[in-house]
């Protein structure tokens, strides 16, 4: 079964919110400063089953050692949050496959 970010955030408690109700650029800096590796995706790219909303290039933080992903999560009335959560290795591979400008920090 494929990962569903919305469902995961509703039903699990193993995620961490690094910032909430932020502007997109602020959230972007948080991700870039937090994760050991950053991959960039296009607006609307699907990560963990959800369309990623934002201004390009959109950073997705990758921690392969801990198998975690850090990503922006935007809602119209609540601004942008940054969510850090554990994922299966295959989800990290999926992000690598759609990254437009892979960059190592």
């Amino acid at each position: 079964m494929s990962f569903c970010l919305e469902l995961h955030l509703q039903q699990s408690e193993d995620y961490e919110i690094l910032i909430s109700k932020a502007g997109f650029k602020e959230a972007k800096k948080v991700i870039e400063n937090h994760s050991p590796r950053i991959l960039y995706v296009k607006p609307g790219a699907k990560v963990l089953g959800a369309r990623i909303i934002g201004i390009p290039p959109i950073p997705i933080g990758i921690d392969e050692t801990q198998s975690r992903i850090t990503l922006p999560y935007t809602k119209p009335c609540h601004g942008t949050a940054v969510v850090d959560l554990p994922v299966e290795k295959e989800e990290i591979d999926k992000v690598k496959a759609i990254a437009v400008n892979p960059m190592k920090k």
Binding site: F24, K42, R51, K75, P76, C77, H78, T80
Partner: protein, 153 residues
């Protein structure tokens, strides 16, 4: 018939709902089939304001619309932008649809208005309609009339 998608942001700004109905009606008169994508709360405001669906008869949940959206699915994107998140949503819809786009940008704070406009200029080739507006929709309505005259011609 050409298809237009109107993208609404958070309904916090009192100008958004009347401007959305006004814009939908203008586009319908020009000959577009209009769909409005919005949050559930913005949709409720439309439902109450236009209970007979005279101005808007096609509404879709913003998240559902985004999930299934495909390139060139609409001939025109019109987005209401009055928050940072609305900039992100507009840019995202713009990049997925890759179609003619108009952003209607309004904010009472001139610094925020300028920031939103700069972000949109840097990340899209959309036509930008902007004014300092919050309670009073007239400044932005006047600019909508002017910009949409081009679509009519």
């Amino acid at each position: 018939m050409k298809k237009a998608l109107i993208l609404l942001g958070c309904p916090e700004s009192p100008s958004q709902t009347p401007l959305a109905l006004y814009t939908a009606h203008k586009l319908t008169k020009i000959g577009f089939e209009v769909t409005v994508a919005s949050t559930p709360s913005a949709s409720k405001l439309l439902e109450v304001s236009d209970s007979e669906e005279f101005y808007v008869n096609k509404k879709i949940d913003l998240e559902l619309c985004l999930e299934d959206l495909e390139e060139k699915e609409y001939d025109l994107l019109v987005g209401f932008v009055h928050k940072d998140a609305a900039v992100s949503y507009f840019v995202t819809f713009y990049h997925i649809l890759n179609t003619k786009s108009i952003a209607i940008v309004f904010e009472k704070d001139s610094d925020l208005l300028e920031k939103f406009l700069n972000d949109l200029k840097e990340n899209t080739d959309a036509t930008l309609i902007s004014a300092r507006a919050y309670h009073n929709p007239t400044p932005i309505r006047v600019k909508i009339d002017k910009a949409f005259k081009v679509l009519e011609d």
